[in-house]
Symmetry: C3
Subunit: 347 residues, 3 copies
Amino acid sequence: MRFSSLIKVLQTGDAGLRWSQPGADPWLSGAASLEQAAADQLSFLEKGNALTAALGESSVGALLLPDQQNLIDCAGERGIAFAVFSDPRLAFAEALDRLHPRRRPLAELHPTAVIDERAVVGPGSAIGPRVCIGAGSRLGAGCIVHPGVVIYDDVIVGDGCELHANAVLHPGSRLGRDCVVNSNAVIGSEGFGFVPTARGWRKMPQTGLVVLEDGVEVGCGSTIDRPSVGETRIGAGTKIDNLVQIGHGVSTGRGCAFASQVGIAGGAKIGHGVILAGQVGVANRAVVGDRAIASSKSGIHGEVAAGEVVSGYPAIPNRLWLRCSAAFNKLPDMAKTLRELKRATPQ
Amino acid sequence: MRFSSLIKVLQTGDAGLRWSQPGADPWLSGAASLEQAAADQLSFLEKGNALTAALGESSVGALLLPDQQNLIDCAGERGIAFAVFSDPRLAFAEALDRLHPRRRPLAELHPTAVIDERAVVGPGSAIGPRVCIGAGSRLGAGCIVHPGVVIYDDVIVGDGCELHANAVLHPGSRLGRDCVVNSNAVIGSEGFGFVPTARGWRKMPQTGLVVLEDGVEVGCGSTIDRPSVGETRIGAGTKIDNLVQIGHGVSTGRGCAFASQVGIAGGAKIGHGVILAGQVGVANRAVVGDRAIASSKSGIHGEVAAGEVVSGYPAIPNRLWLRCSAAFNKLPDMAKTLRELKRATPQ
Amino acid sequence: MRFSSLIKVLQTGDAGLRWSQPGADPWLSGAASLEQAAADQLSFLEKGNALTAALGESSVGALLLPDQQNLIDCAGERGIAFAVFSDPRLAFAEALDRLHPRRRPLAELHPTAVIDERAVVGPGSAIGPRVCIGAGSRLGAGCIVHPGVVIYDDVIVGDGCELHANAVLHPGSRLGRDCVVNSNAVIGSEGFGFVPTARGWRKMPQTGLVVLEDGVEVGCGSTIDRPSVGETRIGAGTKIDNLVQIGHGVSTGRGCAFASQVGIAGGAKIGHGVILAGQVGVANRAVVGDRAIASSKSGIHGEVAAGEVVSGYPAIPNRLWLRCSAAFNKLPDMAKTLRELKRATPQ
């Protein structure tokens, strides 16, 4: 599409278009990073972006820019078409949706799908090949269910959800509207609960629910367990990356983001807007306050206060941890100094 | 069911019913945690349970209690029906099985299943839609195979096993009786073995077996690799959580429990009753003694003695690690003190 | 097969046969480790192998040996057939391929496969039951696609690839020749990219490519994400173990090896021949030089120089880390000494 047509569309979006200079109004066939963009591609820059220098050498066709004079000047001098936005990253996201519109599968039930006669599928939903839907399960309107998805009995899926290939929803799964479950993810599997007995581990039946509130996304291969009683609950708009484990009875607030390979053990309570970086672990029944952030690989026990940034294992405030880590690397020197001082000190 | 009927059933169980006071003999429709339980729900308490205070405010209908006088008194005063057990948690597990009986699928081969003519399926087994079973593979009696499971050639599955949706069993998988393989788990995949050559990595063929002894359970998305020769063996009654990796040639004893995201590298030898908490790593050929426990995120090399509790990376005895970790957080202070002492000490 | 026949085959291989003494020329039905091998089994030893002592007690039928006199003498004295190779491990790999030849499925499209009419499947490819192949996707010649694999639209798979059961390839996946994607792995899933807005996380569309160059292998349950623009690229001959996460926009060189549960965050640049041990994490946009090695559980930020060996979190040179870790275990003692010195030192 022409850059000028794209700008017209973005004008109605959320990114805050300020003004634009479409110049030669290039035809855009796609988008790329600034270094790799060709004359028929779109790119973007953010405030203070380290790539600013690259702008001078880029062959990009059109740019989404922040309101930053040196960038605007440079684009202007080089004759690159551009538009200025309050949030150029958001503008880029909206532009990608236009440049690469997603093809929606036909709203049909593929003849190879195995849908129990006691299951309900809402209008406008597309059920792909080899999908299985069990007794008593209900899908809302406008859902997309990709090939190989298995929905057990007693599952409820709200309107507008997308379930990717080979994902599995176990009994007791309750999805709100507009959720995305990515390929090979498993929702509602049995929590890891066993009672020690003289004859070995005895399974504690896991009969509760897993509730994904509206707009939750679950990454590929991630697993969210159902509890013995009560529910596991993921707050609205929370985004979960690939290979994340969420144990039975965990609850999270709204708008959290959990990066890949995070593990949250049973019964942990996570507040709103919490960000856990890659490979973070949260122990059983830990409590994490709103907007707390844990850096990668940290391990959380006990309690983290709202707004706190923690690191390390066991996790401590990030600033302290940075100093402790720096000191850790000097431990051999410290030990040596200590030995020397000991020798030099009369006992 | 009525509480009195439930008690009659539990009397024949393993939880050690001592006595009961069914009171108004409430009708129970389910179970819940003490804080959330309603008048038609069952709950339980354990000795020294921190929830004791909650009992005074609970609306629970009936309780499974330990033999602890203050709890019994409180339940009695509040007119809550109760029964006293040696192991109220185990009683609760048995009660959940009664209150939420699992529906067993019909023992039939679904017409969409693709079963090789040289495969054998035992009597009373239920083979769900879209299951594939390869040549020469044998399933015992009374198995449940959920939709989308793929069983390659040369797999043996004992009686009473349950294989959940989209799980995969590769050639050389040998499952005993009553094993559970959860959704999207992979058994018998090729171990990660490559020989370095001048032309790059050359695959070492992985031709051995993966043996799951009786009663082993494998969590969602977990992977257990076959070795080049010999076997990978998981001891009877061992329970494995979600997203766990077990490398080629690993052997574990009976009754182990491995929490989510544990990784055990090739050739490690794990004793009986070993407990590995979340995200623990065990290195190649490490040896872990019976009943050892590793706390979350610890990394085990070399050898851990029987009964030892270890933590940290590299893992050290837990008590020492607790003291070292506490000291770690004071490293900046220690470094400062050290500098001051150095200044104050004549060299 | 007879040992002498096997030797003839290995003579044409890459393992460098020097000479052999087939003795009684035993019939070999398989292979085993030295301790477990029976008279009809093959085994091997490497230089400086700790199992040398085991040779005296082994019942092995035939051996592949390095050019090491004491091993050769011992095998000769015990009358064990043997052959001497420059690289006995490589010879063993080649021997296993002969002793356990892989059965290739028939080159046919199974009638239950759902192949879009706009998809192309090359000659000699075997498409198993319940496979789905979407519009515009193209598979090369001689591929093996196991049951339950889902290939979305717009995927290209080169000649000779093998895709294991229930693996998923998303749009934009580009596989070279001779790649292996193991069971339940997911290629080309959407990168974890969201723009924070006043109304919560807004998905950044992920429209780029995932390129697996020739000979790449991806383990079970592993996930490789596509980026918003540009590509995620895995270099030729790189081997990836189970449950590994590779984020959007990552690039790796040729011949890398990533062990299980490694996580590489978005935009990281990994050189050629890099080895990451189990559970290693690499942070966003980190840069790892050629042939660098990271030991298990280490966490890499920033930059690692070519050839460096790093450990710990944050990762530091392995030698320093070994000394720091040793000192860590003595922290309580150091703290005590420090307190004593402080008392003894006039302030």
